[in-house]
């Protein structure tokens, strides 16, 4: 396991900058003025709150004395919706959970249903490889978005443009595969909707090269930037014990020094076929989370590169009309295919009564689906364990005693996605 380079010196550690005489006079005057605590609303209509979170702050000057983090502004009723929807119809809804990496949600949900059906072993290997490839591409897109959006909020708009250009390359890849840039709905119970495009592998390789370059550019832009380091280092501290207590997973947990990654620790799909590392950083602060994400981008590239070499030929969805839709050729030319198609659309995949919890490593950590079936084609109950709900819960502790301006990089480093946090 490799640890990322933490040997970065910030300007703050090098010593405070002296203020100009006029500013110093102003600061001295401010010290003498009487102050009182103030209640301030931050969000939900605030760009740094992503429009979906409201923080009621009790502030004393610039210092945060207390914070009430309120979620729920993007509630879509996903879990209730799922109860009236056939299993395959739920994929478009899970796209909109963590809408920055929909492919990973697709994979997680498909695996949960397969576990309940008991067909995990029968999913074709090619489908598993495709899921890994598109999932890791989505993870890279997720991390890049998190990093550069956070940088844009700190004023680093150039980095944002570099990052978004990189994401655009990744989205083009996913669009080639699924037909949609964002809401892919590409997975199905028992596999994926269709095979990779013929030129996917060379295209993917060239895109990865470009994205690597762009991510390197972003790093060069910020990692030795004093403003960036001042605002990231030592800010938003989440000690390891607290992170565990809050149920934080994913890059935020690994940024607190805990090497927990579902892909490694509870390995699933074909992740055991690849050589990759779980990066950790022990700074417990915004910078540590940034560094973990940057390193994970590299690790995801490693996985994709290996998968592109290893991927076997074969079918991409389970060959059983009970679980998978028949081909259009069968549907239009045989009554068996027609009935199977009809029943899939109208009744859905019949899942035996029971319950299952299945969890995967999504962009923000452990994404769990807990499904209860009553034997029909629609879940009796479908619960999501969204990783960012738990990280958002830890936000209050991370910003207490900090300045208001510290909320922006801290909240950004959590990568709260309203779609999955509120569901």
């Amino acid at each position: 396991m490799s640890t990322p380079n933490l040997d970065v010196r910030s300007a703050r550690q090098a010593g405070e900058l002296p203020l100009s005489p006029s500013l110093q006079a102003f600061a001295d005057e401010a010290e003498r003025l009487p102050t009182e605590e103030l209640i301030v609303n931050m969000g939900p209509s605030h760009p740094a709150m992503h429009g979906t979170v409201r923080i009621v702050l009790r502030i004393d000057g610039e210092t945060i004395r207390d914070a009430d983090v309120q979620v729920g502004y993007l509630h879509r009723g996903f879990e209730k919706e799922a109860e009236n929807t056939t299993y395959n119809q739920i994929f478009p809804y899970v796209d909109r959970l963590n809408y920055v990496s929909p492919m990973l949600n697709n994979v997680g949900f498909a695996m949960a249903v397969e576990k309940l059906l008991g067909i995990t072993e029968q999913v074709p290997e090619r489908a598993e490889y495709i899921r890994v490839i598109v999932g890791e591409i989505a993870r890279v897109a997720d991390h890049i978005t998190c990093i550069v959006a956070s940088l844009a909020e700190l004023g680093g708009l150039s980095a944002f443009f570099y990052g978004i250009r990189a994401r655009e390359h990744l989205w083009e890849l996913l669009e080639d595969v699924s037909g949609a840039r964002l809401t892919h709905s590409y997975c199905r119970v028992g596999g994926v909707a269709w095979d990779l495009t013929a030129d996917f592998i060379p295209k993917c390789k060239s895109k990865l090269r470009k994205v690597r370059g762009l991510v390197g550019d972003v790093r060069k832009l910020v990692e030795r930037n004093r403003i960036f380091l001042d605002r990231m280092e030592g800010v938003g501290v989440l000690p390891a014990a607290d992170a565990i207590a809050y149920g934080v997973t994913g890059p935020c947990l690994r940024g607190s020094g805990i090497a927990y990654d579902v892909r490694k620790d509870k390995t699933y799909s074909v992740y055991d076929h690849f050589d990759f590392d779980v990066p950790i950083a022990d700074g417990c602060d915004n910078l540590a989370r940034y560094l973990v994400r940057v390193e994970e981008i590299d690790q995801s590239f490693r996985i994709v590169e290996q998968a592109l070499v290893q991927i076997p030929p074969g079918p991409v969805i389970i060959d059983d009309p009970r679980y998978a839709m028949p081909s259009k050729r069968e549907v239009y030319n045989s009554i068996e295919g027609m009935i199977a198609h009809f029943k899939h659309i109208m009744d859905g995949v019949k899942v035996p009564a029971g319950e299952a919890y299945s969890f995967t490593e999504a962009g923000n950590g452990e994404l769990g689906f807990y499904i209860v079936s009553d034997g029909t084609g629609r879940p009796f109950k479908c619960r999501v364990r969204p990783p960012s709900f738990y990280t958002t819960a830890a936000l209050r502790q991370m910003i207490l005693g900090a300045n208001i301006a510290d909320i922006v990089p801290t909240f950004g480093s959590l990568n709260m996605i309203g779609g999955e946090c509120d569901r």
Binding site: N333, S334, I335, E336, G337, M338, I339, A340, K343, M346
Partner: protein, 574 residues
């Protein structure tokens, strides 16, 4: 004129002594000739149900390793069904004789330790002592799957245009028992696609799987035997004889029992996809039989009425006439707002106007043999309050037969009689009274009878109040018309020819001014200074308690009427 004083005893509720609460009690002679004798109960089903009743001889048999005690004389198929297991069959129907032609219910049977050799059709074998049945052995699965493959071989690829799709037995069994893709690629046998074989029915011979349910139905229930099988092998098809038509009074039952979409109703063809419908268990308001039916509706529009099993009243069947009772629910035909002198008016104004005209006048109260017990009881309270002269009107007599159709086309003549306390009177009597200015005001419960011009003119000349759910000459003629909830919008009861309580359940909510007629009458009684007779629901509760109707009492315990089930979720039709 009776001035209601505190000393006046409260108006009587619905009479609880007459009619007798259960059909087993004798019918009082006071009922008069027009009520007729209690007709024969539902057509006897030829197959014995598996669940034993009290006093039935039973036999224990073993099904898939589990011992179940079933009624002696039942068949293996019914015994398997009673365990809750789904069994695959097309030709068997509990209300018809056994054909054992589809070979879909083959099971492995062992009696007294000896196998019966070949697989046996479960529908045809009677249960016996020391019988062991296996429904899940590989041989059974194989037989079932191969039979389905044969059945599907010539079945057209019609699901997208088939009215049965979504409630099709073939679709259901394919997914549950076969789910293999086709192994052959040979042209399908072509047969007549749209064949008009009767007043109500279109035949698609290609879709037919030759289960012969419809043939047996026509032979056994209406005993008209119009249908038959012609040709042989895979050219075999259902047909009517040359020149004959499938025109009996019960012909549409073949549509319900058809496991596929071979027989479709002209009325329902391409009207709506079945999975969009919601089903409401209710009662047919077409005649005094009161068949148990399901009303299928979407939003506020009804699309069809199909029979629901009730062994004590109608068995599995209903008549063709009853299936068209839903036509009156068309929103275009309904009275949706209160009217005063032909103009729409707020409900409160209309009630006040109606009450003002009834107060201190010589009033006639017209009970209705088509209205619910609740409405008639409420009208009785009002009639007592204003000292009204009573009339009871109903629909004209129609055709009846010994099976299910009753010549009395009123769903509630017995109940209305009990509430009004008098026999049905001819419409002419009311017309005469109106023409002779015998009363100054009239209050009517609409009874679907076509009133004569004399009566309508009479109504338009005095203060007349009608409670109705439809627009028409009657609502136009009356000074005040109060919009009532239809039989598909309200919870209510009627008493059928056997004296049984039959229940209307709401398929959708009555919006706006539309209310249960009993609730309008309650408002009128209150406006006239009478005692509160309670909402219609309380009256239903009272009636249910009198009749000890457990199902209705359970329904009333629910806070709101249950939402009708979407057919798509029912998914157990066929």
């Amino acid at each position: 004129m009776v001035d209601p004083s505190p000393l006046t005893p409260p108006p009587p509720g619905p009479p609880t002594q007459t009619p007798p609460p259960s059909s087993t009690a004798p019918i009082p002679v006071a009922f008069g000739p027009e009520l007729g004798p209690v007709a024969a109960p539902a057509p006897a089903a030829p197959n014995v149900p598996a669940v034993p009743g009290p006093g039935d001889a039973t036999v224990p048999i073993t099904i898939d390793g589990e011992t179940v005690v079933v009624r002696r004389g039942t068949n293996i198929l019914e015994a398997i069904k009673s365990t809750g297991e789904e069994i695959c069959y097309f030709c068997y129907h509990p209300g018809l004789t056994v054909a054992a032609s589809c070979r879909q219910c083959l099971v492995d049977v062992e009696v007294r330790g000896r196998s019966m050799g070949k697989l046996q059709p479960a529908c045809q074998i009677e249960v016996a002592d020391e019988m062991v049945v296996r429904t899940k052995s590989p041989a059974v699965h194989k037989a079932r799957r191969e039979m389905l493959e044969f059945t599907l071989k010539n079945h057209p690829i019609d699901c997208p245009i088939c009215d049965k799709a979504g409630e099709c037995t073939l679709q259901r069994h394919y997914m549950a028992h076969d789910h293999n893709l086709t192994r052959v690629d040979v042209p399908k046998i072509r047969k007549p696609k749209v064949k008009d074989i009767g007043r109500e029915i279109v035949l698609d011979a290609e879709r037919c799987i030759l289960c012969s349910r419809c043939v047996r139905f026509c032979e056994e229930i209406p005993k008209t035997a119009e249908l038959g099988m012609v040709n042989r092998g895979d050219h075999e098809e259902i047909d009517v004889a040359n020149g004959a038509r499938l025109d009996n009074a019960y012909s549409m039952n073949v549509i319900d029992i058809c496991p596929v979409g071979a027989l479709t109703a002209k009325d329902f063809r391409f009207a709506i996809r079945t999975w969009e419908l919601r089903e409401t268990p209710t009662t047919c308001p077409g005649c005094a039989t009161g068949c148990a039916v399901e009303l299928h509706s979407k939003h506020e529009r009804a699309y069809r009425v199909i029979p629901r099993l009730d062994p004590s009243v109608n068995g599995h069947w209903m008549c063709d006439e009853g299936r068209y009772t839903y036509k009156a629910l068309d929103p275009e035909l309904r009275l949706l707002q209160a009217q005063v002198s032909g103009k729409s008016s707020p409900l409160a104004t209309a009630i006040a106007e109606a009450a003002a005209g009834l107060k201190g006048k010589k009033v006639a109260a017209v009970f209705s043999a088509t209205a619910t017990n609740e409405a008639n009881a409420a009208l009785a309270s009002l009639a007592d309050l204003v000292g009204a002269e009573r009339y009871l009107l109903g629909r004209a007599e129609g055709k009846g037969d010994a099976l299910l159709r009753d010549a009395d086309k009123n769903p509630n003549l017995r109940g209305a009689y009990a509430a009004a306390g008098l026999q049905a009177r001819h419409e002419g009597e009311l017309a005469l009274g109106l023409a002779g200015r015998a009363f100054q005001a009239v209050i009517l419960l609409d009874c679907d009878a076509e009133l004569s011009d004399v009566a309508l003119r009479g109504l338009s000349e005095i203060h007349s109040v009608v409670l109705t759910d439809r627009r028409g000459p009657l609502s136009d003629a009356c000074r005040v018309a109060l919009p009532c909830a239809s039989w598909a919008e309200s919870l209510g009861t009627v008493t059928n020819r056997q004296g049984r309580l039959r229940v209307f359940q709401p398929a959708w909510r009555a919006e706006g001014d539309r209310q249960h007629a009993a609730d309008h009458l309650r408002a009128l009684v209150l406006a006239l200074g009478g005692q509160d007779i309670g909402p219609s629901r309380a009256q239903t509760q009272r009636i249910a308690e009198t009749h000890q109707d457990e199902a209705l009492l359970a329904l009333l315990r629910e806070h709101e009427p249950p939402r009708p089930t979407l057919l798509r979720f029912g998914n157990s039709r066929g």
